[in-house]
Symmetry: C2
DNA sequence: GTGAAAATAGCACGATCGTTCGTGCATTTC
DNA sequence: GAAATGCACGAACGATCGTGCTATTTTCAC
């Protein structure tokens, strides 16, 4: 009984659809994601795919959430097993680097920011909530590093989180346009200087 | 004779269309720009608008170029009247700040990067060329500041250009999601630290 | 004023969009 | 075995997409 046709059939099909949808959205963004195209990619009918979500917007929200889960799983969770403070913060950045390397040809979370930052609606709200949450995690890790004396006492936590995020945006930007290798080198150099500027 | 109804009619109508197209593309991106919607906004027929460009892709390219021109006019050109070196570089950043403040609800140039960095075609090429060109201008201004002794002799020009660009990406990102005021303050603080780290 | 030329509108096309609805086939439950 | 439920399919909907082709209007030179 490899195929769980009992319960779980619906959930597992939904998972499969979201897998394909996430891949498509990496290329075309959440706004470029269409149900017909997705159905063709999965090998289902349009109505079959549609029935799993009820509306295109709910599909887009589900894909956004899929991206968030993958990001947390790949970037944040492994870093939480590192000791608090600078080691954990550096682990976050290292995992984020790897994430960025794998997503240089398109990241759903970042393109969603571009697509929805000027509008309103459920997708905008979802993007804002998600970005605010991630920034908060960053700040928590930084605050611990300060408390443990790994970073200067007068460290501006929100500022450092902003600086880190900006560098990762720069990495993604340059990697997508000019290639990851050169962009990665520059970003690493920038991080070296950034750590030095806040270290005790 | 304010309205050039002479042989400039075509060009002036084209300009009007591009004005509206640029505004629409700020909200919906170049991929979200549709000819029907644009025609309704301008007050013309679809075919009338279409005839000015010949294809949707050529329209998108024209809008991209419109964005580039406006950016150069508002950010680069005024700065070129400042004395070479750090004053000019700071003027570029200041003008860029103002540009970013006005475009916090959507910038065609940046969303185009998100939309086309993972594909290929004329729009991708146009985006890459434009971004590479702007980075080059940044580096020229930085190199002059180094040569004039305003920045350290061992300044990594490409690295500093990357750092500047990354901060501006961070500004745009945070301004769009969390509001310009807070984002602007953080970005200014980050720039202060950046200048200090490279200054003689 | 008149005729050539340029600019715009009108209309139609095939394709695709998101969405709805009825139906059939499995599978589960009685 | 009969009844009920879950899931996906296929057809069709009105709308909009980009793009041609043909009139009609507007503009400009004479």
């Amino acid at each position: 009984m490899t195929t769980a046709t009992h319960p779980g059939k619906r959930a597992s099909t939904r998972e499969t659809i979201l897998d394909h949808a996430y891949a498509l959205a990496r290329r075309d963004g959440l706004e470029g994601l269409s149900i017909g195209n997705l159905a063709g990619d999965v090998g289902m009918s349009k109505s079959g795919v549609f029935a799993h979500f009820g509306s295109r917007e709910d599909l887009q929200l589900a894909v956004l959430d899929t991206g968030r889960n993958r990001f947390v799983t790949q970037v944040l969770l492994p870093a939480l097993q590192q000791p608090r403070g600078l080691p954990r913060l550096r682990a976050i950045v290292a995992n984020w680097f790897e994430w960025s390397r794998e997503h240089q040809s398109g990241c759903v979370l970042l393109s969603a920011v571009s697509e929805y930052d000027g509008r309103d609606g459920a997708l905008h709200d979802g993007v804002v909530r998600q970005q605010a949450g991630w920034r908060d995690e960053l700040q928590k890790a930084i605050a611990q590093a300060v408390k443990l004396g790994h970073l200067r006492d007068d460290t501006d936590v929100a500022l450092l989180a902003f600086q880190i995020y900006a560098l990762m945006l720069g990495l993604h930007h340059d990697a997508g346009l000019f290639g990851f290798d050169e962009a990665g080198q520059r970003t690493r150099a920038a991080f070296e200087r950034l750590w030095r500027s806040w270290q005790t």
